[in-house]
């Protein structure tokens, strides 16, 4: 039934003949990177399109870029007020600053993943008609969301200045943490958009996951509230150390190379580890590993996108 392999050479459509036989991970990754760099003009135009259509015929315009983080901050304040009523303590300016610092990146992750997941299927007519490196579609959605986040970040910066929360440690750690968060989100965007092309139910799962993941991510609460083992558990979420790192460095001015332990209010309880430096390494491994794997999966399934879309 099967035709023998020898008689039919399975050649690459691009014409480089030696490629199909031995798939090389490094070559595929280099190829994907080269494709993306070469089509940066297209990436820019597509991101520009996504940004433009988001604000065209919208009354609030750029207000929408700030709206989502503001809603998250308000929700966080509500949760805090409820906690304060139950357990004592106070909602002070540092709590508000911490909420804002964590709400913005969270809104970025949620928005980017939400926009990028259906990016391939929404551009079905392009996929089946024109050739270009398909990576640019989810990445353009990511960049458009990045633009929103930059607008939101200026608002957060103003808020921090107004609250008098200014620390030098922020300048060191914020770029690193932001880059890791960006990498992790890019990986998720590439993987989920690709998965959604083959299995349309991914889009619905992502919606549900986004809604409920706020309970498993320390956005509205600090992990230390969950006790020693709870804090360690929630830190397994690769985004958690990044958000906590942002809060500790930006709001508390903590040096992330040093561990930090909080002593519980009740005497005699075990101290809760608030920060351990290796958590950052853990997130970094996740970010880099996930990006490499998702780029590889995306690049290798790219050639059959048009058949499945």
């Amino acid at each position: 039934m099967a035709v023998s392999d020898r008689s039919i050479p399975t050649l690459d459509s691009s014409g480089d003949a030696q490629s199909a036989d031995r798939p090389s991970i490094t070559r595929d990754l280099a190829e994907a990177a080269r494709d993306i760099v070469q089509s940066r003009g297209l990436l820019y135009q597509l991101a520009l399109r996504d940004v433009r259509i988001r604000y065209k015929q919208a009354v609030m315009g750029f207000g929408w870029a700030v709206f989502m983080p503001v809603v998250i901050v308000l929700a966080g304040c509500l949760v805090r007020v409820a906690l304060v009523r139950g357990a004592g303590g106070a909602v002070d300016r540092l709590t508000l600053a911490a909420l804002a610092v964590k709400a913005l990146p969270w809104a970025f992750v949620v928005g980017a993943v939400g926009f990028a997941t259906p990016s391939l299927t929404n551009n079905m007519n392009l996929l089946s008609k024109v050739y270009f490196p398909r990576e640019v579609l989810p990445l353009a959605a990511l960049l458009a969301q990045t633009f929103d986040t930059v607008v939101g970040a200026t608002v957060v910066a103003v808020l921090l200045l107004a609250l008098g929360v200014v620390h030098l440690a922020a300048l060191v750690w914020m770029p690193i943490l932001t880059l890791l968060l960006f990498t992790l989100t890019a990986a998720a965007c590439l993987f989920l958009s690709c998965a959604n092309l083959f299995f349309r139910d991914v889009k619905y799962i992502v919606q549900v996951a986004i809604t409920f993941s706020i309970f498993f991510t320390p956005v509205l609460f600090e992990p230390s509230l969950l006790g020693p083992s709870g804090a360690r558990l929630v830190m397994l979420n690769p985004i958690a150390p990044l958000l906590e790192g942002l809060r500790l460095s930006v709001v508390q001015g903590h040096n992330l190379l040093a561990p930090l332990a909080a002593h519980p209010a009740t005497a005699g309880g075990a101290p809760v580890i608030e920060w351990a430096p290796w958590w950052l390494a853990y997130s970094a491994c996740w970010a880099v590993g996930a990006l490499l794997v998702s780029v590889l999966i995306f690049h290798r399934s790219e050639s059959i996108f048009a058949d499945y879309v």
């Binding site: 099967a2 135009q45 399109r49 024109v130």
Partner: protein, 411 residues
């Protein structure tokens, strides 16, 4: 680019009939399999699979323009998708040397909410132009499309013709090394179609390799130097445009254009059709044809047109002339075996024509059954332009010139 070109070698493409039932349960294994390339052998047709392309090969070198024709669903667009790397062939290889410019769904990247200007840059980027290149060509693009005053209006307010014209105009200003065109010569109004066709013709004449898919057979005949007829994924004919178009129109079988589909089982059977002259003939020449057949029984009185014939233009597909034995005053009643001789004066413009015979009343489309057919290639003879030979007779009846025009020069 001097060595630009296309090579399509033994390309097979498998597709699946019906829907693909993928569920999330298959996601992880499928992605892993894809990542490590452990796919099932590509050469096996599983249940529900079919070959959209079967062993298609061709090359296009500079100076050549290849026209691909065939019925809907024959696989023409699949060929172009393989060429433009949108799909990967199941087997075989296709390689394109040089930058490929694809005029396929030229407005595919347009977003209705963006203005014409914004869409030009977006579509340009999708087709591989840098922003600087687009900026340099922007005025030409807008002028060619003829949408100047609406360039800052959202495309959703454009008429469908306007956005198609803008899309074509962007694609036409790509400066590719190789051009691939899919059925977009019918964009816009008549004036624009002529302009678009002129643009493509000038690109093709400049030596750029071109692949053109079209149902406008006269355009294929005019523009292309080579042609490819695809039937159900296979190459049915490869060669001159006239041959391919002729075979496409006559339903496609034998290579020399003679179709020996004898009609039997009827009171009248047609067996063979021969052309006396060797094709090509000159426009205005007389051709002779011999049709042989049999009348089995005495014909019913209602059988008005036992043998009819028609001449169909390969370029347009239109019947330019049709008649029948009864019209020519021949009574075949009870003839037994017969041979008809037919002479036709080919007062038609240059092109390929298919002479088709049939049993039954073809003139009125009643019960006609196709018989043998033959292709006749007509070359330019009397230099006549148009669709009909009206045998002009012109006399100089009177000449009255103003005196000033021819009068002696005044001193």
């Amino acid at each position: 680019m001097r060595d630009a070109g296309i090579e399509f070698r033994e390309v097979w493409k498998k597709y699946r009939r019906g829907e693909m039932h993928d569920s999330l349960r298959d996601l992880v294994p499928a992605l892993v399999r894809r990542a490590v390339r452990l796919q099932p052998s590509a050469d096996v047709l599983q249940a529900g699979d079919f070959w959209a392309l079967r062993d298609v090969s061709f090359t296009v070198v500079p100076g050549q323009t290849l026209g691909i024709i065939g019925a809907n669903g024959a696989g023409k667009s699949t060929v172009l998708k393989a060429l433009t790397k949108i799909i990967r062939p199941t087997r075989g290889s296709c390689s394109v040397r040089g930058r490929i410019g694809a005029l396929i769904e030229v407005a595919a990247g347009f977003h209705p909410d963006l203005t014409g200007r914004e869409n030009v840059f977006l579509q340009g980027a999708i087709m591989g132009m840098s922003a600087a290149q687009t900026r340099a060509k922007f005025d030409q693009i807008v002028e060619f499309a003829g949408v100047g005053e609406f360039i800052d209006t959202p495309v959703k307010r454009y008429s469908s013709g306007m956005s198609a014209r803008l899309g074509f105009s962007i694609a036409a200003h790509l400066d590719p090394d190789v051009l691939v065109i899919d059925e977009i010569l019918s964009v816009g109004d008549f004036t624009f179609q002529e302009r678009a066709f002129g643009r493509i013709r000038s690109l093709a004449r400049s030596g750029m390799p071109v692949v053109l898919v079209s149902h406008q057979l006269d355009r294929v005949a005019e523009l292309c130097t080579e042609a490819l007829l695809i039937e159900r994924g296979r190459v049915a004919c490869q060669g001159s445009p006239d041959d391919c178009i002729g075979m496409y129109l006559s339903g496609g079988t034998a290579g020399d254009g003679t179709r020996d589909a004898s009609v039997t089982g009827e009171p009248v059977a047609l067996h063979t059709l021969h052309l006396r002259e060797s094709s090509p003939v000159r426009s205005g020449d007389v051709i002779g044809l011999r049709v042989s057949g049999t009348v089995a029984d005495a014909l019913l009185p209602g059988t008005l047109e036992p043998v009819s014939f028609s001449v169909r233009s390969a370029a347009t597909g239109h019947v330019v002339f049709a008649s029948s034995s009864a019209c020519c005053g021949i009574d075949l009643n009870g003839a037994g075996r017969f041979t008809l001789e037919l002479e036709l004066q080919m007062n038609v413009p240059a092109g390929v024509y298919v002479v088709e015979t049939s049993v039954g009343d073809q003139l009125h489309g009643r019960g006609a059954r196709g018989g043998p057919a033959v292709n006749v290639c007509v070359t330019d003879g009397t230099g006549f332009v148009g669709v009909a030979q009206l045998n002009p007779v012109m006399r100089l009846a009177e000449v009255r010139l103003p005196a000033s025009a021819w009068g002696p020069p005044t001193a």
